[in-house]
Amino acid sequence: MKKLLLISVLGCLYAGYSTWVYTDGTTSAAAMSPAAMEGKELWQRNNCQTCHQLYGLGGYMGPDLTTITTDKYRGPLYAKAMLLNGGAIMPNFHLTEKNAADIVEYLSYVNTTRTLTK
């Protein structure tokens, strides 16, 4: 009986904590524009996280792109050029100008949510 009571209490705490994480625990002042939304979809469709990370989530073949749009060595134009042409390791995904611009817009949005990244 005690065990069932304990598991019920834990279950309630889990439900409450999950609800809080889904709402107040993850609020963000930054809003995603329609172009950034489109960029996010392209990011996922091309499986970019296999090689790149956002907030440390993703693969290690390429660099973390959380802050690329404000990086003093890289920036949005560099990002767009890589997206359009590929690089020594990065394949050319044959994206259109608009596709590349949308992904850069998404990365800019990600950067605005940053407060703690390295």
């Binding site: 999950s18 996010k40 990011w43 296999t50 907030y55 440390g56 290690y60 949510t113």
Partner: protein, 441 residues
């Protein structure tokens, strides 16, 4: 179809997935050194998701096969529905084939670890529901007076359903339209899903240990349940150490830090206390299973040290987003989960293996153990080199150059690890596809 065919079918699927996973993993590791290696057919964009997805398929296919066997022996009655289990198998095979075809043809969801097209989740939920119905109907036992491993199985069955659904929340704009929420919930779902499969695997290993030792008391002791509840607390709340850098509410970090400090200490303790029991027991019929479980103990301890270290926020800010996280994942997935699953397979089938096959498996196990140690150390070295380069704000090309020697060592270890896994998996698959012979009772 005979009852005994079901576990064999799932284990065959599991070991086949493992062999494919390790092959794609080896290819992906070589692509770190030679970026254009086999890239025409298998680009890194495909090899990494193939490796990860097939590794997860290995875990779920084999653990469900093992539980289908364990639950009938535990309940002392035949499986509730063999046709239902057969349908489960067909759906699971179908989901794997669709996902793999999707990766080859470039259809991704773009979600870390669950990169298959999102609608495949419907098939996964369908077969998992069939598994749950079969499991609970066969067990037919009240939870209150059941041993701890039955609680663990029930927890794993229920939480996998919760977490696979939670992992799809990104499709709702409320979640997908806020990157902080999206990434936090993604880690939350993935972290708890790992907790769910750990419950299934540890429960199965404990059940095997109980059968080996003949000790029926440990599974009912208060200490075992205390550890189970702490493990469950970790499953529910200890996912946040992956999100220390995500700008969610600070309470998320604080909760996960407090909980994570208890995490693997509990698992090490619970497994070692079980193993202390079977050290004294006769293990003549379970030599192979015994070896797998003993070596898994070593990996529990190694990962314990690493997991605690990377959960400390000060250390985590340097290790997160580096290969040290991969070392932790590899150590847990291969060193603990894979060895425990192989140990469970050995527990069920050791008596049917020929002497030569047993010898090959023993040699393969040592090969896995030693090569995994070098692979693990190589990844930690790569992570330290990457972290140091990040602190210096090195260009990515320079960073890659610093990490390269460690990745070469990682690939070489991966090659030997692949050989070791083949030496264990192939004799089992050969046994399962043989027509004659029954399962032990």
């Amino acid at each position: 179809m005979k009852q005994d065919a079901i576990p064999k079918m799932f284990l065959t699927l599991g070991f086949s997935s493992l062999l494919l996973s390790i092959s794609f993993g080896l290819t992906a590791s070589l692509q770190y050194i030679f970026p254009h290696f086999a890239s025409e057919q298998f680009s890194f964009q495909k090899t990494r998701p193939l490796h990860v997805f097939l590794a997860v398929s290995w875990i779920f296919s084999s653990v469900t096969g093992i539980i289908y066997k364990h639950i009938t022996v535990y309940a002392g009655r035949p499986l509730y529905s063999v046709p239902m289990a057969a349908v489960h198998f067909v759906l699971q095979l179908m989901a794997i084939l669709i996902a793999v075809t999707g990766f080859f043809t470039g259809h991704f969801s773009g979600r870390e670890y669950l990169e298959f097209p999102p609608w495949v989740t419907i098939i996964i939920i369908a077969y998992w529901l069939l598994f749950a119905v079969n499991f609970f109907a066969t067990a037919g036992r009240k939870l209150a007076d059941a041993p701890v491993y039955y609680w663990m199985w029930c927890t794993g069955v229920v939480f996998f359903l919760i977490t696979i659904l939670e992992a799809q929340l990104w499709q709702l704009p409320f979640f997908g339209g806020n990157v902080v929420r999206d990434i936090t919930v993604q880690w939350k779902a993935n972290g708890s899903m790992v907790g769910a499969w750990n419950m299934l695997i540890y429960g199965s290993a404990m059940y095997a240990m109980e059968q080996i030792t003949g000790d029926k008391n440990t599974g009912l002791q208060r200490k075992s349940f205390a550890f189970y509840f702490l493990g469950l607390t970790n499953l529910m709340f200890n996912w946040g150490h992956h999100t220390y850098v995500v700008p969610a509410h600070p309470v998320v970090r604080q909760v996960s830090y407090i909980i994570s400090m208890t995490e693997l200490v509990l698992l090490a303790n619970i497994i070692l206390s079980w193993s202390a029991g079977y050290k004294k027991a006769p293990v003549a019929h379970y030599q192979l299973a015994y070896r797998f479980f003993r070596i898994a103990d070593v990996w529990v301890l190694l990962n314990l040290v690493l997991a605690i270290a990377i959960s400390v926020p000060y250390i985590n800010q340097y290790t997160h987003g580096t290969q040290i996280t991969v070392a932790h994942a590899m150590g847990a997935t291969i060193g603990i989960n894979t060895l425990l699953l192989m140990g469970c397979a050995a527990f069920l089938f050791e008596w049917k293996l020929q002497a030569g096959a047993k010898k090959t498996i023993r040699a393969g196990l040592m090969c896995i153990h030693i090569s995994l140690f070098f692979l693990w150390i190589s990844l930690i070295g790569a992570g330290i080199a990457r972290s140091a380069a990040q602190q210096r704000h090195d260009y990515f090309a320079l960073l890659s150059e610093k990490v390269l020697p460690y990745l070469k060592s990682f690939s070489a270890s991966g090659l030997v690890l692949t050989i070791g896994i083949c030496m264990v998996a192939i004799p089992f698959v050969a046994l399962f596809v043989r027509r004659r012979g029954n399962m032990p009772r």
